[in-house]
Symmetry: C2
Subunit: 476 residues, 2 copies
């Protein structure tokens, strides 16, 4: 069997810590092609639960799931100018089949706007056919130069919602509804607090009119874009001729949105909650919520009996895993911790003499010895506590590390301290690029509401007075 290796302390080398955690936690293996990943049971299980619960949330919004092709002919992709310019350098391009050359290049989808546009063009006739609210769970390929497990890989998994509406207001409203849904979902299931806001013109999606984002703060102070929602206006419906007859029988172009979250969320979970023992998985999306460990089972047959009964009782309600192997107790405990299971129950001969077992919380590492007959009730409370504790800890860190500044000097100083910096900024593309080159920071979003004493301030770069306050940070 593979031994558990040591994890580099996160205070010492955060990047190395992250790589150790993903490799050790039964989360990934590297694919044979550079920059590709194997999602092992412990990470794919999280993704399956994210799918399940997001599908439930989507259903409340009238979302219907569909599946569109992986392959896009070149002519289709080239129809929207900004879009092809934004994606072209990363497009995996199929030029032959077996030994035979193709007449037209075929791209592996990096996103599916053009495919949905083609579908909508052929399915809509009247305003009565609208809205259409579709979503797909799919893999996409973007040939990134530098890669990092979950955060930036050449293939990733995501959901992409695509909608069509007969008026701009409804489409704009849906764009905002979806970003709020993501923010709530991240809080309620992943225990991740976020800042909701709008992207600057430079950072918006290639082809969108406006992009909303949810930005999370990792333990090293960097930002991670955890989900986006785009108002596409008629930017795709015009070149793709997605039209409908309105109530007066006039032909109009449809209004569109798209929105998505991806397997980046797995990276966000690790870097929001993880510690020097590995990943900590929030209970609601943990593939295994409770590890039940038999300790010294050979010394007392009751150990296995009690374990079996607990697996049966708790397994009705929770996702439970039994470790009845002959490994030593220390290995079993470490193995549960490194895989991030929120709770473990240790059943050993000594506790059993008093009809007790020991429950250990993964977040606080607190050990609680309790009577067997209280376990069921206590588990429910503990799992909720763990979720809340993870969320509150992350929320406090986020709040503490947002700093408002007035000048570029202050800005540079705070960015160097790994803060989220809120600054008055006019959002000129060139100045954003200069700031990135000088400090490594990018604009994360124009937050929906963020307390500042004044309504207007001089921009930190061009010094014109502005009412735009923008969050900057170094980001993944």
């Amino acid at each position: 069997m593979k031994e558990l290796d040591k994890i580099t302390p996160l205070e010492k080398d955060f990047a190395k810590w992250y790589t150790d955690v993903v490799k050790q936690g039964n989360l990934i293996a590297y694919g044979p092609l550079k920059g590709t990943l194997v999602f092992k049971p412990n990470s794919f299980g999280i993704w399956e639960l994210i799918q399940k619960y997001l599908n439930e949330e989507f259903k409340q919004q009238g979302v219907q799931n569909v599946y569109l092709p992986l392959l896009i002919p070149e002519r289709l992709f080239n129809k929207e100018k900004d879009h092809i310019e934004g994606f072209n350098p990363e497009l995996a391009t199929i030029t032959q089949v077996g030994e035979a050359k193709l007449e037209e290049k075929v791209f592996v989808r990096p996103t599916s706007e053009v495919l949905f546009a083609d579908l909508f063009k052929n399915s809509i006739e009247s305003y009565k056919d609208l809205p259409i609210i579709y979503n797909q769970w799919a893999n996409v390929v973007r040939w990134e130069k530098t890669t990092n497990p979950f955060l930036r890989s050449r293939e990733f998994l995501w959901q992409e919602g695509h909608t069509c509406h007969n008026n701009a207001m409804e489409a704009r409203q849906l764009t905002r509804t979806m970003i709020s849904l993501y923010a709530k979902f991240l809080k309620n299931y992943l225990a991740i607090p976020v800042i909701v806001g709008k992207k600057t013109p430079k950072e918006k999606f290639a082809g969108a009119c406006s992009t909303y984002t949810v930005e999370a703060m990792m333990k090293d102070g960097r930002a991670l874009q955890a989900g986006t929602s785009h108002y596409l206006a008629q930017n795709f419906s015009k070149p793709f001729e997605i039209t409908f007859k309105d109530e007066n029988n006039n032909i109009q172009f449809a209004y569109q949105t798209s929105w998505g979250v991806s397997t980046r969320l797995l990276g966000a979970i690790i870097m929001t909650h993880g510690d020097n023992r590995g990943i900590i998985i929030p209970p609601r999306i943990a593939p295994t919520q409770i590890d039940i460990l038999e300790l010294f089972a050979s010394k007392n047959p009751k150990v296995s009996e009690v374990a079996k009964q607990l697996v049966k009782d708790l397994g009705r309600i929770y996702r439970v895993r039994l470790d009845n192997s002959d490994k030593n107790p220390g290995f079993k405990a470490s193995n549960s911790e490194i895989q991030g299971t929120p709770l473990r129950i240790e059943i050993g001969p000594r506790d059993l003499e008093n009809n007790m077992v020991t429950i250990v919380r993964r977040d606080t590492l607190e050990k609680i010895v309790m009577p067997i007959n209280q376990v069921k009730k206590e588990v429910k409370t503990l799992l909720n506590d763990i979720h809340n504790n993870l969320y509150i800890t992350a929320k406090e860190r986020l709040d503490k590390n947002i700093v408002a500044v007035d000048t570029y000097e202050e800005f540079v100083d705070q960015i160097s301290k790994s803060k989220f910096v809120l600054a008055p900024f006019c959002c000129h593309d060139e100045e954003e690029e200069e700031i990135k080159a000088e400090t490594g920071a990018t604009t994360r979003c124009i937050p929906k509401s963020m307390e500042r004493d004044e309504k207007m301030k001089p921009c930190i770069t061009c010094h014109h007075v502005t009412k735009r306050f923008v969050i900057f940070a170094r980001a993944y």
Copy 2:
């Protein structure tokens, strides 16, 4: 709104009937690349339910879900000779990214044996790490020349299970367990009866030692391979060096299996159960189990009230859809039928005068007028009845159309009558090819047990006495 078009009668032109059904039933749209498909809500919904229920069955067998990369470097694919030879002509090949040429060709996976082999090679050390029983739900690409929705397309969705064992017997046993699981699943969820058997050497999977199959009979008498399970022996573990240390510390090569079902199943559902009004979806995997239709709602406000209450009551247990549009009753009924919803409930002012509603079965088209307060109880019975009726009808057709023959003349005659033909056959590759060229029939399987009077017979082509009895049919 799109009008419902006519469906070609299946007796007149089965192929045209099939194409009409898939287009009309809110099932597919054609993708922009020839041979690719859009799975619309009504077909993707079936696939989601197949995933859900198969996952539950898999869990009983200790299967763990994972996700492996889409992209395979050429060098990896070339390691198993039969495998690359079998798949090479269909491989979508990426040679460039943006405008930059790649140094090594990259294939889009047509199946993932080599990816799993690479993963297993790096994850197994000892016999204690075995068995590994992994499954993935994924898209695969095979560049087929002639395509047909669901049945043969350039991209399809499937699950592929891949396992590693420390002995041949366990691996062989799992191969058989999975094919039995598929047969039961097809019966219990899709209402499709199958013949379970082994593929002839010519028809087995490229790289397998032996292949088991479940073969279904479509309404036109053709066979459809609905699922396969392969015993790979050490055919991949040797070239890929998947080894483990056995109990005596000797290095051994692992024994492997792989098994899968795909979105072909959607084609099987259509061609097993469909009629001249369209698809009939078996209730357990129907995305909508009950359509509730408001008829002449403007004439009596009670129509909408009762509909709303039924949606609420039935929606707790079943997948229910409400049609409260202003379309006419005939359109609403046809629309429900063409989408294959197993039951529809029509709520109209006349029935309501006596506190009655009308339930219509999609399979028999029988109309049942009943008191509102009996609906809930009756729906349960009816949905079960529909499942059983679909299965029994299909099973009777299958049984009636299997014919045993002794000579090649009889064989040719029965194949021309679209039968499944059971014949003594020695399974020489060349003779299989000749039969296919002459009659269009291929070997479907060597069935596990099939009643024949004699134990041995002369082969229909080479006339040597054999105990092999093989099912032939024209197939999709």
